[in-house]
């Protein structure tokens, strides 16, 4: 997964940047310094920070908290730049907001470590113990639950609540971490990879206010259309799925906590139609999607039930109780939104004095609820790497330890992204052979608790 050679990249934009490649006989790290021909005048006036994090979303804010609380980084100057306004939530609003994330136990541990989890549980969060997946084209389903239903599998938390909790925690860390809101970055200027006399060795960040800041390490947490990644010229593998996601808040007819979150991935055209429907028709559309048998063919049904019968002879005890799909009674007012889906992966997460985390490095389909978790995993890993580097007196922007971060995270993220992409492709079709394959595969997996435990463990990190 780790590319060992880099050819020079095509010149960017105004032809300002190019990559210098160095090969060593000892096959060591390749330096990925960038050279910029511009020199900034009056460098003495800019403030130098040890770390600047660009992007104050869930992952960027978590990174800021994590660095701010790290004892080995005490005394370092850390700055978080966020283009939007400060998100304060004095009182949790009664309406449930649309964008939610599934927070794995690993991510919950990180958030608890930075002191934000208590704020989150104090506001609103829903743990869940069981997950069930139905196939529209057959009777196959798979259930994930832990042996002991008392253990939580994961938590559903609104994104706004996560950001508000992290913001609150950042307020208490103001000695170590500064935050600048309403600060949009207009330009990045990259350093040379080793010392040259009259150029600044730090990354320079120019804000729309005209202010220039300097950073020994720039962390890009600015989302799937990351400017840091683009300006650094990091090549990205990406494609758009021909799908958009429609999100809404549902009111279910059954239980007492009746609100639920919907993410409906479908074609662009269908998604637009869904947005146009009035609320009642939308509810009908959801219900029919859950309950209709239109997509099922008899052949698949019969093959499926035969297979299930065979499996239950082999393993009579396996397979937990089937839960029927929910019925939707209504939707939250004005809660429908749609956004396009795609996949993206930066081929490198780092450069000299630059590191990418979260969606800036990797963007996935929401079907597995893993996007935020991958980002939190990046935060935990990078914090640990920087902490160790600081304890060894290293320059925080040096490639050696940043490469360790990249290698470790790519090793974890790429299989996850490949799996999610595969799932997406597998489940995007009605073609009979694929449906049969996935039906039988799903049923077999459902009957194998060890395999399911492995899947849960992998997704919980």
């Amino acid at each position: 997964m780790h590319k060992l050679t880099k050819a020079t990249l095509a010149l960017n934009g105004a032809g300002r940047c190019y990559i210098a490649v160095k090969h060593c006989p000892a096959a060591k790290t390749i330096s990925r310094g960038l050279v910029c021909t511009e020199h900034v005048s009056d460098p003495g006036k800019s403030e130098v920070y040890d770390v600047i994090i660009s992007g104050g979303g869930m992952v960027g804010s978590a990174m800021a908290c994590s660095l701010g609380m790290e004892p080995n980084l005490k005394g370092k100057k850390i700055l978080l730049l966020e283009a939007g306004n400060k998100k304060v939530m004095d009182k949790v609003s009664d309406t449930y907001s649309t964008r939610v994330s599934s927070i794995s136990p690993g991510s919950a541990t990180l958030l608890s470590g930075v002191g934000a989890w208590d704020h989150i549980t104090g506001m609103r969060c829903k743990p869940y113990q069981k997950m069930q997946v139905w196939d529209a084209c057959s009777d196959a389903l798979i259930t994930f639950d832990k042996e002991n239903l008392q253990d939580e599998m994961a938590y559903i938390v609104e994104n706004d609540i996560i950001v508000a909790a992290l913001t609150k925690q950042l307020d208490s860390l103001s000695d170590n971490v500064q935050v600048k809101y309403r600060s949009k970055v207009v330009k990045y200027t990259w350093p040379m990879s080793y010392q040259a006399a009259d150029s600044i060795p730090w990354v320079q960040v120019t804000l729309d206010s005209g202010e220039t800041l300097q950073a020994k390490l720039l962390i890009g947490a600015d989302g799937p259309n990351s400017m840091v990644r683009r300006e650094a010229g990091i090549p990205t593998v990406k494609w758009n799925y021909d799908q958009s996601a429609v999100v809404a808040v549902l009111h279910l007819s059954e239980l007492s906590d009746t609100e639920s979150s919907l993410v409906w991935s479908t074609s662009h055209g269908h998604a637009e139609e869904l947005l146009q429907l009035d609320e009642e028709s939308f509810v009908d559309a959801i219900n029919s999607a859950f309950w209709s048998n239109d997509n099922q063919s008899e052949f698949i049904e019969r093959a499926g039930s035969l297979f299930r019968g065979a499996l239950s002879v082999l393993m009579p005890s396996a397979g937990s109780t089937r839960q029927l799909p929910p019925s939707v009674a209504g939707i939250g007012p004005k809660s429908r939104v749609m956004f396009p889906l795609g996949m993206g992966h930066a081929s490198e997460y780092i450069r000299h004095r630059v590191a990418l985390i979260g969606d800036a490095a990797h963007r996935v389909h929401p079907l597995a609820g893993q996007g935020a978790n991958l980002g939190f995993g990046d935060v935990a890993c990078l914090t640990q790497v920087l902490s160790q580097a600081a304890f060894n007196g290293k320059d925080l922007g040096a490639m050696q330890h940043l490469l360790e971060y990249e290698t470790e995270r790519q090793r974890h993220n790429l299989p996850m992204m490949a799996a999610i992409d595969l799932m997406k492709r597998l489940y995007s079709t009605n073609a009979a052979p694929v449906v049969l394959l996935r039906t039988l595969g799903l049923q077999a997996t459902n009957m194998l608790p060890p395999l399911k435990e492995q899947i849960i463990a992998f997704a919980s990190k």
């Binding site: 080793y194 010392q195 304890f391 007196g393």
Partner: protein, 312 residues
């Protein structure tokens, strides 16, 4: 205080992995330029590209920081407890002898220590200062002087308060001892500038057949890990001899560890064998006994060193 002043310059720590500027015969003046000559700046620049390029000529030295910084840090933390988080070496004064371009000096400064880096080669000091110039926070704690250890030690005799006698908590001489002609004087000067109970850290190369084969033949001639002519095998010293030398100068050797360089990965690692490279930590005994009295008063130097550390 002893009056053993070297009357002629007999030994200098030359710049680490000399860039061909090893001057064996003359004194380098302490250069504290108030205004930098542009042609000099250019020279420092070209040297900087050698010193500070982590994949360049001095790559192995950069990689050695992974071993020597923790070695120095942990041994100092053992003696001086109660550190501030984020600045484990805060409040300690360290002398980096033969600092070259500042490769080891800067990390020690980042850990919170006040560090003085000295090197007789003015160009190296210029390079080090240049590299430091952009970092004002670090610059407040790290200073450089182009001078020799003897000069520094001699200054203390003349009553200068700032540098010299008994001022340093630790002296670091990394990859220096193998370039010296007169180790006795070196050891004496180290003892002179150290506080009682202070630490001396040395990394150097053993004098064995293996170190010849790997350290000279392989490293210089075949693999070009260091520039040719950097090392003279005759000047290598074995840990046993070094220990003996130091103990006769009022030190107690606390630990010796072998280091091994892997040219394929470009990384160093600790190893049991001291056959090639090794690191040594010694502590200056509290009282400075004359060599003939050392054995009589208390035959166990460990006791004194322990007493020294508990006093701190």
């Amino acid at each position: 205080m002893s009056s053993r002043l070297p009357s002629s310059p007999t030994c200098f720590p030359s710049s680490v992995l000399g860039t061909g500027l090893i001057e064996q015969g003359c004194l380098a003046h302490s250069a504290s330029h108030t205004t930098l000559d542009p042609s000099e700046v250019k020279r420092f620049q070209s040297l900087a590209s050698k010193w500070w390029d982590e994949q360049g000529e001095f790559g192995a030295l950069h990689a050695m920081n992974d071993l020597r910084v923790p070695f120095i840090r942990d041994n100092l933390l053992n003696v001086h407890r109660g550190h501030q988080p984020g600045k484990p070496l805060a409040g300690l004064k360290i002398l980096d002898v033969g600092c070259g371009g500042g490769l080891l000096t800067e990390p020690l400064g980042r850990l919170g220590a006040d560090v003085l880096g000295i090197d007789p080669v003015a160009d190296s000091i210029g390079t080090a200062r240049l590299h430091l110039s952009h970092d004002s926070v670090l610059g407040a704690r790290v200073r450089y002087r182009a001078c020799t250890l003897e000069e520094l030690s001699a200054e203390g005799e003349e009553g200068e308060e700032e540098e010299g006698v008994g001022q340093f908590d630790a002296v670091v001489a990394s990859e220096v001892v193998e370039h010296l002609a007169d180790l006795e004087t070196f050891a004496f000067c180290c003892s002179h500038v150290l506080k009682p109970g202070g630490s001396l850290f040395i990394t150097t190369i053993n004098k064995t057949n293996l170190s010849y084969a790997l350290g000279i033949v392989a490293a210089e001639q075949l693999l070009r890990i260091v520039p040719r002519g950097t090392h003279d095998w005759e000047k290598f010293i074995s840990p046993v001899e070094l220990e003996r030398l130091l103990e006769s100068n009022g030190f107690s050797v606390q630990s010796i560890r072998g280091m091994l360089y892997n040219p394929v990965s470009g990384k160093w690692s600790w190893t049991d064998s001291t056959a090639i490279n090794y690191a040594l930590h010694a502590v200056k005994l509290i009282e400075e006994p004359q060599p003939d009295r050392a054995q009589a008063d208390n035959p166990d130097p460990e006791y004194r060193a322990h007493a020294a550390s508990t006093h701190n």
